[in-house]
Subunit: 407 residues, 2 copies
Amino acid sequence: MKFGGTSIASIERIRNVARHIARERQLGHDIAVVVSAMAGKTNELAGWCEEAAKLCDRREYDAVVASGEQVTAGLLAIVLQEQGIAARSWQGWQIPILTSNEHGSARIKHIGAAAILDGFAARGEVAVIAGFQGLHKESGRIATLGRGGSDTSAVAVAAALGAVRCDIYTDVDGVYTTDPQIVPKAKRLDRVAFEEMLEMASLGAKVLQVRSVELAMVHKVKTFVRSSFDDPGGFKQGTLICGEEDIVESQVVTGIAFSRDEAQITLRRVADRPGIAAAIFMPLAEANINVDMIVQVASEDSGVTDITFTVSAADFARAQTILFKAQPEIGFSSQHGASDVVKISAIGVGMRSHAGVAALAFKALAEKGINIRAITTSEIKFSVLIEAAYTELAVRTLHTLYGLDKA
Amino acid sequence: MKFGGTSIASIERIRNVARHIARERQLGHDIAVVVSAMAGKTNELAGWCEEAAKLCDRREYDAVVASGEQVTAGLLAIVLQEQGIAARSWQGWQIPILTSNEHGSARIKHIGAAAILDGFAARGEVAVIAGFQGLHKESGRIATLGRGGSDTSAVAVAAALGAVRCDIYTDVDGVYTTDPQIVPKAKRLDRVAFEEMLEMASLGAKVLQVRSVELAMVHKVKTFVRSSFDDPGGFKQGTLICGEEDIVESQVVTGIAFSRDEAQITLRRVADRPGIAAAIFMPLAEANINVDMIVQVASEDSGVTDITFTVSAADFARAQTILFKAQPEIGFSSQHGASDVVKISAIGVGMRSHAGVAALAFKALAEKGINIRAITTSEIKFSVLIEAAYTELAVRTLHTLYGLDKA
């Protein structure tokens, strides 16, 4: 069971979390719980680090910010004990959860399950685990997994313990066909395939951290997303993220995701010669800037071409500067940028066996007067880049087109 | 170097702390720094624990409250690095600082100095150590040393490293002959003997934690108390706590301490028979209540006696209840209590070689009309219990009597 920051933002809410745990205990389950820091706490700690130094030692940053989860793990253990449930807190270094040494974005390498399993067997003890953190064994220092890393901690712990299920409690009651704030008819999905969830998370759905879904997929950890604000004793609804084989009736398109974190760059009149792509994209790669959608359009003049691609909004200014510096080598006539763009994606494992799914979308969007600036497709999803002003219209159009409005 | 909560209450103050450290670095010293949590932080964390459960698991309490020092250690390391000083933070379990398992009031059993000394030698690195905390080796859990325990951490680290000196930075510039708020003529002492400081701390002076002074005395760690709010580059004044052999000219009385944390209990007409002291004091000892001053006054009637003693104000109500319950066994006629009392103490190693020091005080207090309710003496101090209303008058009287007003 994993509880995020809003679910444990006060002692009163931690008591509610304990009621969820008590219910599962009464069903006879052994339980490991992974907790985030109280809502806002990680931002406060990270803010102090930034105030201390613009570019701070990531090892020290990790030591500072990891304290937030240490606090909530201890507090939840206290509340559980108060309710008569045997419990103890575990920090990453105590278990240990061993990680790589990429401080601030470390990856989990190994989890020692023995002590926690012993706590289940010998003392019937709920293990309350500080999420987001681990220990880099060689240096003996705390490493954190990056923002939202507690989801990843939870799935990794579930895999290490051989858990039947990983329940992610959050502030929504599951994964929806799209954002209900844009499409009120959006419906909660009972089941989503790992691959679909991975695309949704990558393409803008914020329910789960991408890496946690990857991990769940690799280790086949059934992950159930539900709300911690439900009545702890009442009916439980949510979304089960599972293997395709566990989904009886799959839709062609399962969900519509969108991401506003995009920026578009167009280089005009680039020489159409071998090695031109490398000349453009190598300097960006060296600056650790990810390029997503790429479209090359032949210019009217022969021998030159226009190239459009997207980067994340955070990298926009930096990418433009790098490209201007590289202008002599690349040889473009002008650079154009736009940050008022959005990437709309449709995801569904059914696309594998259905042809022409994306083509339907291009037609429907065109009929609404929405201009598509770039397209990418993969086996189970396609994405289009459009002007941001059309976001809601485009999402609603695709949601209806693929039959997701129906009950 | 040790810095308390008010010295590191913000990033701005932490920058000031770093300037003190930079000055000592420039003098060529290797430095270990022990830090407390930011002012108010430990209270906040302890408050959450209490909200979670009135009587909480002390192991979990320790895990929660130890996080405060983890944060300041990391932040100070970041600020030092920003100023070009190699530094890293150390938590209790990383060093390790091994403790007993009395969670909430653990005692330091061993400090592994090797890694810190290696940091000095190999990387010229300032070791920034989270105070107040350690690791109980057998359980692998965090144990804290009790409130104010960072002083103890600092002295213990200094002893383990074989440090030349332990500098305690606080919000006052040293140890005074008495509280300057009561006696404006009170003077900062340049030097105080370990034994004197131990008595002063035990008898009400709040500059240092009692256990830290014990530890400094046992390991002969010269401890320098000074203010962190001084100009980091300027003249440094403070009080050196050291062996008597390092004090050239010692006063008969070094300081006047007082404690308001006292309560007086009198049992009237107690049967004057063997075993009566045990009948009174055993039930209190079993309830973990410390009895301090004891006076027995023969009653006018033969065969009975009045017994007066003091307990800490916090134990007052509990002690009274216990004694009423034990009335049949003890056999007193009535119990009288008073919490409006204060214990005034005069401390000085010179008392060992001077007779009649206390007698002077009894006379001087009597001349001012101050009634003495109880007296205790030891080799280097004496204490009198008086009515609280006379506190300031008594402190000033003794301060003048023993020549402490003079420049």
